[in-house]
Every structure is written in structure tokens, then in C-alpha cells.
């Protein structure tokens, strides 16, 4: 871990390239394609450097630690990369690079003269700020990078700021992220008071847990959980992710949520023996997020909002794993740590792949059909076969179909949960978390069946959908690359496992240095020693081979056989139309309405049939810009307080002189106070 290691230089180069990628475009000619190509090239080059550094740290045991002197209060700026940071750096570099290429086709300079440069600038800044967040080890630097990340995401997400719904979602995001940052400020200050400095590095054996540590933990859950989109702090997420350009949604949903989870992991890793309720709380929040996220996803009528809610579900799965690992840490169970955190970290990687794929695919659909409403699409698989196939792979991976990406990570989390309640000294909470995740998985199955079925199968429900077409090369390329990655990544789990093990050791290490007597007496076993990942992957390869064989044989038979193409039997209707199909709303309403608490259930417009010859009955889920929880709970609460503060408006006179009088009054009052203190308290 010497300072001048190649990893540090590589990462510094990577971050600089990505951060500055949007700058040349600002100076280039408006409407020209030079700036956007250069920016995609810079992001790509930076990503290659960054990925190389991450791989070195993960698999070759590299890493670095530098202290930069700083004129700011809060001590030197501490930067360090261990395996935990490196693992999160992988999506931070991979996803923006693919998204930047995709952006060439999705948001070209030629068609978006007004905002394409702004978008590219903040896109690069967002990716670079996330990388700095992952490397920062001093509270001040962390908060600065965190804030840059939040603001860059705000500007990137509100690219289409002429649309009122995008502006509104942007403001809600800004308020939510700043509320979370406020919590993090409190957390950093409290942490600094206990450790005596802003460096986030635990002493040997970890920080002792005191009463204030629990406040630190709760503030971290609110601050980081808000960024990660944990239920019930998720209310900003669907609007912001839904309204952003698709490759920005992919970065926000696929990567930025993970940065929130990373922060939580980093802060709890400082404590040697956390109380058991910390892990319990995370298990509870994780299982709740998974369940409600999936149910809310099923109820969405908007393509991208559905995917955003599905991110809430997946963040829930990761948090469940983190909760289990934390529980293992407090109970001294190394295998719970290995399974919980191992599953969580694998899922972080895999979710970033398939969620990016799904968002990019959704962007291609929106680009082609011009609408985001699921109920206006349909039959797209015939128009966009390659996008459709990749999208199907993404859905299957999100649903943890073996042997695709999501399967391996969820399997590890499940094995961990089973271990936790089947063995001696079982944890009751883990016993509840496993079935909750299982139900969430089933609901997610319904949500994605609806998504894929309604959008890609059947026949078109609108004119636009009927004229959809495959996107251009710049967009299709990243989609196909991600499709292949999603198919292969799961099978590569045995090869990734050593890197994940290194990250788990890095998480445990600050508290339990090798050779010392910590809470965790036994070393954390490698992941592959508990779950036979290699065997499962081989089985998966065999299964895929079998599938390919069957498909090949079928295709051969189809080619030889002669058959006629015709319409499906339409029950004798004289004029079947695209509207005579199940809609997404009819499919999802049942699930979303029954499985979510009433406050969080989606808003539905129901016009029931009336009379013997009913006309115009309908059930539809209008795409509101706001989350139901926000609409029903937070907004009434906020407007109540706004009314209470209304009288203060009288102070805002509008005349400069009056404001200056306020300043003068304050000044005189302060002087009087200090003078009075001088008289009353003898010096």
C-alpha cells in the first residue's frame, strides 16, 4: 500500500479523463459531432484505465493510500483504494462508458443543440465524482465529492428541463438528496467527535460502540439509504430516474444507488462489534424495500418508472445481504459475513449490468416508438428483434433465472439467510427475510412479465408502436454488449469470487486485523468454499448448451417444414384491434393494490362499467410524476409546515432598505449582547 503505486496513478488519470470529458465539447462548434465523439472517447479511455486499476486491486492485491495536504479545515485529504472501493469502481467506470457510446445515438448533438453539451459535461462529472466518493477516506473530501455527485446528477437528470414533470422530479430529487446530505453532515461531525479527526480509518479492533455510534448508524441509514433508494426513502427515485435521458437513468439507477450502499458499508465497517439490532434493522429495511419495490414496479404504467421501482427492489436485496453480514459481524459468524456480503457485492455488480441493459433498451424503445407508456406499446419484438432479445435477457437476469447474472448473487444471499436461521443460534429476522425476498421475487416476475409481454409481445397498441424500428449502431452496440455480459457474467462468478473475497476481507479488516483477537475469531471463509459456485456455473454452461442445441434443432425443423403465417384465432371477432389485449394496467393493478401498504399503493383511475350496456369503462394507471408515498404522506406534511411559516413572508418586504435594517438590527443586537456579556461576566 505505498503511496506512489501504479493504481493511484491509473485511477487519477481515469478520474481526470472522465471528469473533463464534457469540457472540449463545450468549446467545440455547436451542432458539430466532433465534441461528442471526443467526449465518448475520453470517457471510454478513462474507463479502461479505471477498470485496469480496479482489476489490479481486486485480483492482484494492489491498492494505495495518499494524504494530500489541504488548506481547508478538516485535516489532510485522505484517498485510498482497497478491494471494497475497487469492487464498486467497476460499475462506476463500466456503465458510464457504455452509456457515453449509447448517448452518441440517443442524445446526439445534431438533434439536441440546446442541451447535449450540458448533458455530456455533467455526465462526465457525475461519473468522476462517484469515483472520488469511493476513494475518499476523509469526511470533508467525501462530503465534497458526494455533493458534486448529487448536483451533477441533478443537472444531468433535468436535461429536458423544459418539461414541467422533469423539473418537478428534479426539485423533489434535489430536496431529497439535500435532506440526506444533511444527515451525512451530522454523521460526519459525530464521527469526527468520537475519533478526534475526519479520517475514516478505524483503529486496530475497530471503533468502540457507544451511544453516539447508534446515532451515527441511524444518520448513515437515512443519508445513505436515501441515496440508495431504500423504502421508505425511495420517493424521489422513480421521478428522477424516469425523467432523465435513458443513459443517465442507467447511471443513476445502475451505479449511483450503489454508491449510497457503499457509503453505508464503509461507515459500518469502522465499528468492531456493532450491536445486533443494526443488522436487524438493515434486514428489515432490505426485505421491505424488495417487497414493496417489486409490488410498486408491477403497478407502473410507465416503462422507465417500472424499471426505477425495480431498482428499489434490487437495492433491497443488496441491503438484506448487508444486514446479514452485519449480523454475522456482531454475532461472530464469519460464514454469515461471507455469504451476506458476498451475495450483496455480486448483486451490486450484476444489477448494475442488467439494470443498465434494461434502461438502455427502454431508451431504444422510447426512441423508436416515441412513448413511454407501456399501454401504448406492443409487438415490438418483431420490429426490434435484437433489442428485444437483449431486453429479454436483461429481464430474465433481473428475475434471477439460472444461469444468468442475477441468479448467482441471489442464490448466495438465500444460502446465507438459510444458514442464518437453520443453524444453531438462529436469527429470527433472517427467517422472515428469506420468504419476504421470495415473495418479492415472485412479484417481480409478474412485473417483468407484464413489462416484456405488453411491450414486446402481442400486437401494437398505437400507431407509433406499429412504426418502431431497430436503433442505430451507437445505441444497439452497448445494448448487445450488455446483453452478452448479462448472459456470461453469472457463469463467470467462480472467477469473480476471489475479488469479492478480497472486498469482504477489506470490509472486515479495519476491525479485525490479522493476528489480533477480535469479535470475529475465525477468518472469513472464501465464498467458493461455502457455495459450490464452480459446479453451478458448469451446470449452467451445460444447461445453456442444451438450450442452444434444442433451439438449433427446432430452427432446423422450422426451416425444413412449410407453414403459413396468419393471424391468431380471434374468437370470431369481425374486426380485432390492438386494443383487445390485456393492458399493463389490468395486469399490474391486482398485485400492486394488494401487496403495498395503502399509503404507498399506486394511484389508479377506475371507471367501472355502469348499466346493462356499459360505455367507456376503464382502469388505468396514469403516470403521475410523484410517488404515491410522496403524494399521500410527505406533501400534506410539507404543505402544513409551509402554511405555518407563511406569516414569515411579511418579513420579506421587497425593499432593499428594509433588508439592510435587518442586518443593522442583527449587528447592533450582537454588539449589545457581547457588551452585556462583558458587563455581566467579569473578565
Amino acid at each position: 500500500m505505498e503511496a506512489a503505486s501504479p493504481d493511484g496513478l491509473l485511477l487519477a488519470g481515469a478520474i481526470a479523463l472522465v471528469a473533463l470529458s464534457g469540457l472540449p465539447g463545450l468549446l467545440a462548434r455547436k451542432g458539430g459531432s466532433g465534441g461528442e465523439r471526443l467526449s465518448a472517447l475520453l470517457v471510454g479511455a478513462g474507463a479502461l484505465l479505471g477498470l485496469a486499476a480496479s482489476a489490479r486491486v481486486l485480483f492482484l492485491g494492489g491498492g494505495f493510500r495518499v494524504e494530500l495536504p489541504s488548506p481547508l479545515p478538516g485535516g489532510p485529504l485522505l484517498l485510498s483504494a482497497d478491494a471494497l472501493s475497487a469492487l464498486f469502481l467497476v460499475p462506476v467506470f463500466l456503465v458510464p462508458a457504455l452509456g457515453a457510446v449509447y448517448g452518441l445515438g440517443y442524445w446526439p448533438e445534431a438533434e439536441h443543440r440546446r442541451d447535449a453539451r450540458k448533458l455530456r459535461f455533467f455526465y462526465g462529472l457525475l461519473a468522476a465524482a462517484m469515483a472520488v466518493v469511493l476513494l475518499a477516506r476523509s469526511g470533508v473530501l467525501f462530503l465534497v465529492a458526494w455533493e458534486v455527485m448529487a448536483l451533477a446528477a441533478f443537472f444531468a437528470a433535468t436535461t429536458e428541463d423544459r418539461q414541467p414533470s422533469v423539473r418537478e422530479a428534479g426539485w423533489i430529487y434535489l430536496v431529497a438528496t439535500h435532506a440526506g446530505t444533511l444527515g451525512l453532515f451530522g454523521m460526519t461531525a459525530l464521527l469526527a467527535r468520537t475519533t478526534g479527526g475526519f479520517a475514516w480509518e478505524a483503529p486496530d479492533g475497530g471503533l468502540a460502540v457507544t451511544a453516539s455510534s447508534s446515532v451515527v448508524f441511524l444518520l448513515a441509514v437515512v443519508g445513505f439509504g436515501g441515496k440508495a433508494g431504500l423504502f421508505p426513502f425511495h420517493f424521489w427515485l422513480p421521478g428522477a430516474h424516469g425523467g432523465a435521458p435513458s443513459h443517465v437513468s442507467a447511471v443513476m439507477s445502475g451505479v449511483m444507488l450503489k454508491v449510497g450502499l457503499y457509503g453505508l458499508l464503509r461507515v459500518v465497517s469502522l465499528y468492531g462489534a456493532p450491536p445486533a439490532w443494526w443488522g436487524g434493522l438493515l434486514l428489515l429495511l432490505g426485505a421491505g424495500s424488495a417487497l414493496f419495490g417489486a409490488a410498486l414496479a408491477a403497478g407502473q404504467g410507465d416503462l422507465k418508472r417500472l424499471l426505477a421501482y425495480s431498482s428499489v427492489e434490487n437495492v433491497g436485496i443488496v441491503t438484506t445481504g448487508i444486514g446479514l453480514a452485519l449480523l454475522g459481524r456482531s454475532e461472530g459468524r464469519p460464514e454469515w459475513v461471507a455469504l451476506g456480503l458476498g451475495g450483496a457485492l455480486l448483486h451490486v455488480l450484476y444489477h448494475s449490468l442488467f439494470k443498465t441493459l434494461l434502461f438502455l433498451g427502454a431508451g431504444a424503445v422510447i426512441h423508436a416508438a416515441g412513448t413511454r407508456e407501456v399501454d401504448r406499446l406492443g409487438g415490438l419484438l418483431r420490429k426490434m428483434p435484437r433489442t428485444g432479445a437483449a431486453f429479454a435477457a436483461g429481464c430474465a437476469a433481473a428475475l434471477a433465472f439460472p444461469p444468468l447474472a442475477g441468479f448467482f448473487s441471489e442464490l448466495v444471499v438465500y444460502v446465507g439467510l438459510f444458514r442464518a436461521f437453520a443453524g444453531p443460534d438462529s436469527s429470527l429476522l433472517a427467517a422472515f427475510a428469506a420468504p419476504a425476498l421470495a415473495v418479492a421475487g415472485a412479484v417481480a416476475l409478474a412485473a417483468f412479465t407484464k413489462l416484456f409481454g405488453v411491450v414486446f409481445l402481442g400486437s401494437p397498441r398505437s400507431e407509433e408502436a406499429a412504426h418502431a424500428h431497430e436503433p442505430g449502431r451507437a445505441m444497439l452496440g452497448p445494448i448487445l454488449v450488455l446483453g452478452a455480459l448479462v448472459a456470461v457474467a453469472g457463469l463467470l462468478s467462480p472467477l469473480l469470487a476471489p475479488g469479492v473475497d478480497a472486498a469482504i476481507r477489506a470490509w472486515v479488516a479495519p476491525a479485525v486485523p490479522p493476528g489480533s483477537v477480535g469479535e470475529l475469531a475465525h477468518p472469513v471463509p472464501p465464498l467458493a468454499a461455502i457455495v459450490p459456485l464452480g459446479t453451478i456455473a458448469l451446470l449452467g454452461v451445460a444447461f445453456l448448451g442444451l438450450l442452444a442445441l434444442v433451439a438449433g434443432l427446432l430452427a432446423l425443423r422450422l426451416r425444413r417444414a412449410s407453414f403459413d403465417r396468419g393471424a391468431t384465432w380471434d374468437c370470431g371477432y369481425a374486426r380485432p384491434t390492438g386494443r383487445m389485449q390485456y393492458t399493463g394496467s389490468s395486469f399490474g393493478d391486482w398485485i400492486a393494490g394488494r401487496l403495498t401498504p395503502s399509503a404507498a399503493a399506486p394511484v389508479l383511475e377506475v371507471r367501472p362499467p355502469v348499466g346493462s350496456f356499459p360505455r367507456g369503462a376503464a382502469v388505468s394507471a396514469p403516470a403521475p410524476a410523484r410517488d404515491p408515498l410522496l403524494l399521500r404522506l410527505l406533501e400534506p406534511f410539507a404543505s402544513r409546515w409551509a402554511r405555518r411559516f407563511h406569516d414569515l413572508h411579511a418579513l420579506q418586504e421587497g425593499r432593499l432598505t428594509i433588508y439592510l435594517v435587518y442586518v443593522l438590527g442583527t449587528l447592533v443586537a450582537l454588539l449589545a449582547w457581547s457588551a452585556l456579556r462583558g458587563w455581566v461576566l467579569p473578565r
Binding site: L656, V663, L671
Partner: protein, 213 residues
């Protein structure tokens, strides 16, 4: 009162009264300019050691506050054809009275402030606070934009006096930066004043309340 610094500061305080008591805009501008020139001499007297740093600050302050800024303001005054401050929010005699009260309070307060021993005997802190308060009074009681700029200038003069306490601790760059800020601020105000007049044919800032929400 034997200290030459104190004599200078008494003059500064008297100029506060002059600026507050006269309706003529030319007099207020000249008063503020004279105050600036007097203040430019202050660093030379407070610091026995005559370094290039102190000299540079003195020269820059004198050029800026004594010549450049008053010149700008008088030009603005000629451009907009306004000579007198009519109907201030608070009349001239009451504002003189307020200034006197403020100066008295400033002397009282500063007796209680925990000061470094070398500054405890001088008038530096009371003069600074009194000038600050007078600047505020001009800012708050006058309607014409030009008078308000003068108020801002006097306010800054008060801060400058206070800065003398810290001149050894403060880097040269900070002084230079403050002077530059002041100049740019007043430069912009000069431009704004012209535009306000063209737009509203009046310089009463009272009328500028459209932007409140």
C-alpha cells in the same frame, strides 16, 4: 488623544456626521472621498515599520478611494442630473442624532471587547464600529441609489479601520482582494444606476420592489 492615529480617527468620525448631515450629493461623495484618503494614511501611522507592503496598500487605497471611486460617482451624478437627496426615510437632523447615539454606543461597546493590549488604548475599534454604523445609517435612510453607494463605501471604510488590527496577521492578498472587490462593486453599481434611470426615470430605490416573490 495625543496619538496621531487617534487624531486621524476623530476626523474620520466627524466626516461620518458630515456625510449624514448634508443633503448635497456632491458633499457626501467628497466627504466619503476625504475619509478614504485619511484612512489610506492610517496603515503608515499604525505600523512604525514602513515596508513596501504597507506602502503599497496606502497608495492603492488612496488612489481608489480618494480619486477613482469618487470620480466614478461624480460622473454618475452628472449623468443622471441629480444633486440633492430629497425626502430621505429619516430626516437629516434625526439621522445626525442616530449617528451620535451610534458613535456613543460604539465607544461603550468597544470598552468591553477583549482586545489585544497594543490596540486597547487607541480609538481604532470605536471608530471602526461608529463608521460601520454610519454607513449602515446612510444605506438604510437614503432613497437615492447614489447615496446608497456612498453608504456602502463608508461601511467598507469602517471595515478597513478594523482591518488595521489584523494587518500583520492578514496576507497582502486579502487586502488587495478587498480593494478590488470594492472597486468592481462600485463600478457595477455605477453602470446599474445609469440603467435604472433610463428604465424608470428615477433613482428612488423605493420603487425597486418588483422582484420580491
Amino acid at each position: 488623544m495625543t496619538h496621531p492615529v487617534d487624531i486621524l480617527l476623530v476626523l474620520v468620525i466627524l466626516l461620518n456626521f458630515l456625510v449624514l448631515g448634508t443633503p448635497s450629493l456632491r458633499m457626501t461623495i467628497r466627504g466619503a472621498a476625504l475619509q478614504g484618503v485619511l484612512l489610506a494614511l492610517l496603515p503608515l501611522l499604525v505600523h512604525r515599520g514602513f515596508g513596501w507592503r504597507v506602502g503599497a496598500i496606502a497608495v492603492a487605497t488612496m488612489a481608489l478611494k480618494g480619486l477613482l471611486i469618487p470620480g466614478l460617482l461624480e460622473k454618475a451624478m452628472r449623468d443622471v442630473h441629480i444633486r440633492r437627496e430629497v425626502e430621505p426615510y429619516v430626516g437629516f437632523v434625526p439621522s445626525l442624532f442616530l449617528c451620535a447615539v451610534g458613535t456613543a454606543l460604539a465607544i461603550l461597546f468597544s470598552g468591553n471587547l477583549p482586545l489585544a493590549p497594543e490596540h486597547a488604548g487607541t480609538l481604532l475599534v470605536p471608530a471602526s464600529l461608529a463608521t460601520l454604523l454610519s454607513g449602515f445609517l446612510v444605506l438604510t435612510t437614503r432613497k437615492k441609489a447614489i447615496s446608497q453607494v456612498v453608504g456602502y463605501l463608508i461601511l467598507e471604510n469602517g471595515i478597513f479601520v478594523f482591518g488595521q488590527l489584523l494587518i500583520e496577521a492578514m496576507p497582502f492578498l486579502v487586502e488587495a482582494g478587498v480593494l478590488l472587490d470594492l472597486f468592481v462593486g462600485i463600478f457595477i453599481m455605477g453602470i446599474v444606476i445609469n440603467h435604472i434611470r433610463q428604465e424608470f426615470s428615477s433613482l428612488d430605490t423605493e420603487l425597486l420592489s418588483e422582484l420580491k416573490d
